[in-house]
Amino acid sequence: MFDGNFQSESEVEEIFSEAWQKVQAGHSIESAVSAYPEYASQIEPMLRLTAAVRGTPPPALLAGALARMRERTQEAAHERNGVAAFGQKSVRYTPYVAYAPPRRSLRSWLASLFPIAPTLRGSVGVLAMLSILVGTMSIIETLSRQADPHQSLETYSGTITSMSATAWWIGDEKILIDNTTKIYGQPRVGAEMVCVGRPLSGDRMKALEVWIRLAPDGSTIIPKTLIPLPTKNTEANASVFFH
């Protein structure tokens, strides 16, 4: 109820705070109150109560509860790191092409010799031979790139929206699964997954390796450190992406 005395009310609030600070600094309650004789009767019982509140034995968190919290927090951190590593959205990557270390081909070596070849030999015949050689190497390199399956590997991540015995779908992307596909974790609709595979025509991909991050019911958690991929090429691929 308003008693028309705002000033004194705010004063006593201020004084009470000051007096409690003195008590906390080591003064006795009597000594703290003695500095404000006109408010002593008001603030002394409040200070005693505040001291009693302060001295009440606090509820203690049991060691088992603390351990459970620690475990749950660590799990949440692992999960978060997994999400950060895999990315939250369905994104198609072309890791090998993007991250392959620069490699100097025979063609480029020969090409670099090309300008100095006349000086070295001074022969039109040599030039002709070099030209033929460069052309041949170019064809060989093109063919070998097409033949190298690793060149066309891609990773794909997202949520499994539908599944059949031979294929899973991440949105419109069809991921073909067969008995050669290595699957880590327990796949199910709604689970987050990452796969490395070879793109096929249309929105399709032949999956070589698949990791399931977390199923909807939380039963499957991918290890923090991913299982090394078995082949040399894909291992290099994974190291670029997941470490």
């Binding site: 705010s10 009470f16 509820p59 620690r70 978060r80």
Partner: protein
């Protein structure tokens, strides 16, 4: 087993963080030691804060666990310099407590009966002196439940946890003057509630004797 022991030893040996920036950087990396530090350092404090408001040990434990999980989930959103890490954790806890009561659509119920059952050993008379001298935890829980949320939080943070009033003002987003008002009025209300509890108990004892 051996690995976990070594892990635990390593954690214990390095439970020191220079400042919030170090700690938050560790948490963003998913550093196990940073997590260990946060849980060890803040979970007991948050638990006290939650316990006195929820009046339930299990609920308080669950809430603190949830605070930790949310802390990890939102660590990228923590802005250094805007608030202390501790204040940020308490803000998460406050929001969860608010959500809890909103979901239940009611405030904590005050029960003098419960208070009397919790502490039946009082002698009649001189209630004030008794309140001031010894305060049982259950009494305090029931007494705190008679306060407004903000009064209760000011008392918990300032008196029990030892926060400075300006820190409390920052957390509750109130002016320092209004925090001082909440503090004083909260203590007054608590005093009245505890005295009423003691009076009720005295009456109960007298009626027992009459019977």
């Amino acid at each position: 087993m051996l690995q976990s022991q070594v892990w635990s030893l390593n954690c214990n040996l390095s439970l020191q963080y220079m400042d919030d920036a170090d700690l938050v950087a560790g948490l963003r990396r998913g550093d196990a030691q940073a997590i260990e530090y946060v849980v060890g350092q803040y979970a007991p404090v948050l638990y006290r804060f939650a316990y006195y408001q929820l009046q339930d040990a299990m609920l308080a434990e669950d809430l603190v666990s949830e605070v930790m999980v949310r802390m990890i989930g939102h660590i990228d959103g923590f802005v250094l310099g805007q608030a202390s890490f501790q204040a940020w954790l308490f803000r998460i806890a406050r929001n969860l407590i608010t959500d809890h009561y909103r979901a239940r659509q009611r405030r904590p119920q005050v029960s003098l009966e419960a208070m009397l059952e919790a502490e039946p050993g009082y002698e009649p008379g001189a209630q004030d002196r008794q309140i001031e001298a010894v305060l049982d935890r259950e009494q305090l829980v029931v007494g705190l439940a008679t306060l407004t949320d903000e009064q209760r939080q000011v008392i918990l943070l300032h008196v029990i946890e030892g926060w400075e009033l300006p820190q409390v003002a920052e957390l509750l987003n109130r002016s320092l003057a209004s925090i001082k008002g909440l503090y004083y009025r909260g203590i007054q209300s608590l005093h009245r509630a505890l005295a009423a509890g003691n009076n009720a108990q005295d009456n109960l004892k007298r009626s027992d004797k009459d019977v």
